[in-house]
């Protein structure tokens, strides 16, 4: 195993570690929806982030956009 493969494994392992992952998800949620959060996440500090959730948000926003 060369050093790049080791680095890759290490990175993946870190990505799986619970607390770090939670912190990163919370940071992304705050970046996207700030203090107010988005109602799609009942509690933005508790729910995980996913691309699908972001698509849901975009769809909801697009509907609101077309109504205004």
């Amino acid at each position: 195993m060369d050093s790049r493969e080791k680095d890759s494994l290490l990175r993946k392992a870190r990505s799986m570690s619970g607390k770090k992952k939670d912190d990163e998800e919370k940071a992304i949620l705050f970046l996207l929806w700030g203090r107010k959060g988005w109602e799609g996440y009942k509690d933005p500090t508790q729910c995980g982030f996913s691309i699908e959730k972001l698509f849901e948000f975009l769809k909801a926003q697009k509907k609101a956009d077309s109504r205004s």
């Binding site: 993946k12 990163e24 992304i28 949620l29 929806w33 700030g34 203090r35 972001l54 698509f55 975009l58």
Partner: protein
């Protein structure tokens, strides 16, 4: 020595067999392929095909390329200056995509709004269809992965990677020129946004790094160059968060590429204390001799044949500039010969050829 060995030797501040060469090629590949820029930018298949063609055109002697499709930047669901969801990008049929900045779109209350509602409050879904975004993340991503398998068989380093900036740099794009007044009138707001939003910017890039299995992380700061702000303003409103981003990526064992357009000469000393042999600094209008003097023991310099020379200069002019750069920067390793930012779409192919020729002949150690 292979291109990959040569490139990483240079990054680790060792002398390879010759200076690695890596003109920053994006839309020049479209020109060579006879494609409209928007066509190149939006089609993953066409952009890979065009990059492949230009790589072969230059005899596979380019050591590192940005192997990517601009589509992933334009359709980015996360906040980024390149995302057509967050900012006004226009895609004229026969010329380069245009970033359209309009003053007074947002007032100085923007910073509070971002803290309250997040960066998604900048989104206008009418700018780009959700179907186009979804297509990007499904079929186009799959196509990209297929092409990457082909690229992995080539002896070329892929220096494309997720790109980030500090939050206030991005908000200055939204504020337009008024953003520079904010630096003087409400600096504490910029700091607050940077403090609270930088962890999210870092996390997004780490997310993309894991998705793409990329060991490279890029940071591109555009509005805090010495052309636009003083070193005092840079130190107060940019450097603490820029440094934090660099350090976080290094902690993840990534190689960091600092893409620094404009003039960074008066700011070079800030980077002196960063961990050595882990960072590539892509420079455009910075004094390379000074950069080598100040940072030669810390990081690998990449640059900076002027775009104007590549587009309008003669082969002799390009050769002279390459010779000068090699003389000033190549000693002891830690130098990659490149264009200053992107080799323009109208660069003369013989000038790119001259750059490669100088690296392979005059650039030997």
């Amino acid at each position: 020595m292979t291109s990959k060995e040569r490139f990483w030797k240079a990054v680790h501040l060792d002398e390879p067999d010759r200076v690695p060469v890596s003109p920053y090629i994006v839309y020049l590949a479209a020109t060579l392929a006879g494609m409209a820029p928007a066509e190149f930018g939006w089609s993953v298949r066409k952009s890979h095909k065009a990059l492949r063609d230009i790589y072969e055109y230059f005899g596979k002697e380019i050591d590192a390329l940005n192997i990517q499709s601009m589509r992933f930047a334009f359709a980015d669901v996360f906040p980024s200056p390149y995302s057509a969801l967050y900012f006004n990008w226009e895609f004229p049929p026969n010329t380069l995509p245009q970033f359209v900045q309009k003053g007074a779109t947002y007032g100085p209350d923007l910073y509070d709004r971002i803290l309250e509602e997040g960066f998604t409050s900048l989104i206008l879904p009418s700018r780009i269809s959700i179907e186009e975004i979804r297509e990007t993340y499904t079929h186009q991503s799959q196509e990209h992965l297929e092409w990457m398998k082909m690229w992995e068989e080539e002896d070329v380093v892929n220096i494309a990677g997720p790109t980030t900036t500090i939050p206030s740099d991005m908000l200055i794009y939204a504020r337009g020129t008024e953003g520079f007044l904010d630096m003087l009138l409400c600096p504490e707001k910029l700091k607050e946004v940077n403090d609270l939003m930088t962890p999210g910017m870092i996390a997004v890039n780490k997310f993309w790094g894991r998705m793409a299995d990329s060991n490279i992380q890029k940071i591109s700061i555009q509005n805090f160059t010495a052309d636009l702000v003083s070193p005092t303003v840079f130190e107060d409103l940019c450097w603490p968060w820029m440094k934090k981003i660099v350090e976080e990526f290094l902690e993840e064992n990534c190689t960091v590429i600092l893409h620094l357009d404009g003039n960074w000469t008066p700011l070079l000393h800030f980077f002196e204390d960063l961990p050595p042999r882990r960072i590539i600094m892509e420079l455009e209008n910075t004094d390379m001799k000074k950069a080598k003097e100040i940072l030669g023991n810390t990081l690998c310099l990449k640059g900076n044949v002027p775009c104007t020379d590549l587009a309008f200069g003669t082969v002799t002019q390009v050769e002279d500039r390459c010779r000068e750069l090699i003389d000033e920067c190549a000693g002891g390793g830690g130098f990659i010969l490149s264009s200053g930012c992107e080799a323009p779409a109208n660069a003369k192919l013989e000038n790119i050829e001259a750059m490669i020729h100088m690296a392979t002949t005059y650039g030997t150690y």
